[in-house]
């Protein structure tokens, strides 16, 4: 790996670490979500500072150029993250849907208890 690539990796990692830490500092992010980015940044820093690790895995996997392995690793991690986020997003969406429906039902029940809807016209008014 070239010195430039290693420097770039370190700079990006340190930058994102600082950013994440600031988010946590002012309670803008949940710790569970921050951990992923912190661990990832630390892995990048390790790869940049000790490229021997990358060379070693390169030899194992018969990859020609170490930089390709770094790309491969990043792409794989990002794909995995997007996949997991899709699952989380769909769980989140169904939770929101359930919540909204439940609020609607609760409100109707409250109105029913007060007897406000018991007029002849019923349904929507105005």
């Amino acid at each position: 790996m070239s010195v430039a690539l290693r420097a770039l990796l370190i700079m990006m990692s340190v930058g994102s670490l600082v950013y994440i830490v600031r988010k946590i500092r002012y309670s803008r992010m949940q710790i569970e979500y921050a951990l992923f980015w912190i661990v990832l940044a630390i892995i990048f820093i390790v790869m940049a500072v000790f490229p021997q690790v990358v060379y070693f895995v390169c030899n194992l996997m018969k990859v020609m150029s170490p930089v390709n392995l770094v790309y491969l690793f990043i792409i794989a991690i990002l794909l995995l993250k997007v996949f997991m986020m899709t699952i989380e997003l769909s769980a989140l969406e169904s939770k929101v849907r359930e919540l909204v429906q439940q609020i609607g039902i609760n409100e109707k029940e409250q109105r029913d208890e007060k007897g406000e809807d018991n007029n002849i016209t019923g349904g929507y008014k105005g």
């Binding site: 309670s27 710790i31 359930e98």
Partner: protein, 237 residues
Amino acid sequence: MRLLMVIPAYNEEDNIVRVVNTIKERYPEYDYVVVNDGSTDHTSKRCHKNGFEVIDLPVNLGLAGAFQAGLKYAYQKNYDCVLQFDADGQHKPEYIKDMLEKLKQGYDIVIGSRFVNKRKERSLRMVGARMLTVAIKLTTGKRIADPTSGMRMFNKAMIKEFAVNMNYGPEPDTISYLLKQGASIAEVQVEMDERVAGTSYLNLTKSAMYMFRMLASIFFIQNFRKRDDKHVIMKRG
């Protein structure tokens, strides 16, 4: 002192009636509220049938979210202190009195601890607990013998702080953070029962993930957190 017991319950149909009935019959002086965390079994139905105080969450939020719902309720109803209490019958209400006495001495949080005077048995579970004790000791300088105990009592200032903020799960990393911020935390010796029915939420993988999250959080993240100035407690002289 008005005390509210917050009892988060997720799929505890086998335990909840026994646990709440014990409280109602033997300790009617304490208020309680069950927070049904979107259970998929008959937890909610059994609570309503028995006329229990229950907050039904329409979706599952997890322990932190369910507990926070209970604290919001306590905050809105202006309670003086809250006890976090398990729905599975592991916690014994006879120790509430001791904990309350301790809280009245001016502590912010009182932990019902299994290991104040007793040693931990040698098991994998306790290795985890010990690691957390060491982590908290290293980062705050204070010793918490039983950081994973789920039986904790919070005073009025803490109720507000837990009710309105993000990243205040009822977990060891929050304890470590609050210690570092100058909160006073005491431990009272209690005994706990083995779980009678149902299965524990934690298996080996989940436990390992939990330990990783807690240790990373205690050693790294909690150092950078800034406390909202509005909720800083007065330092006692």
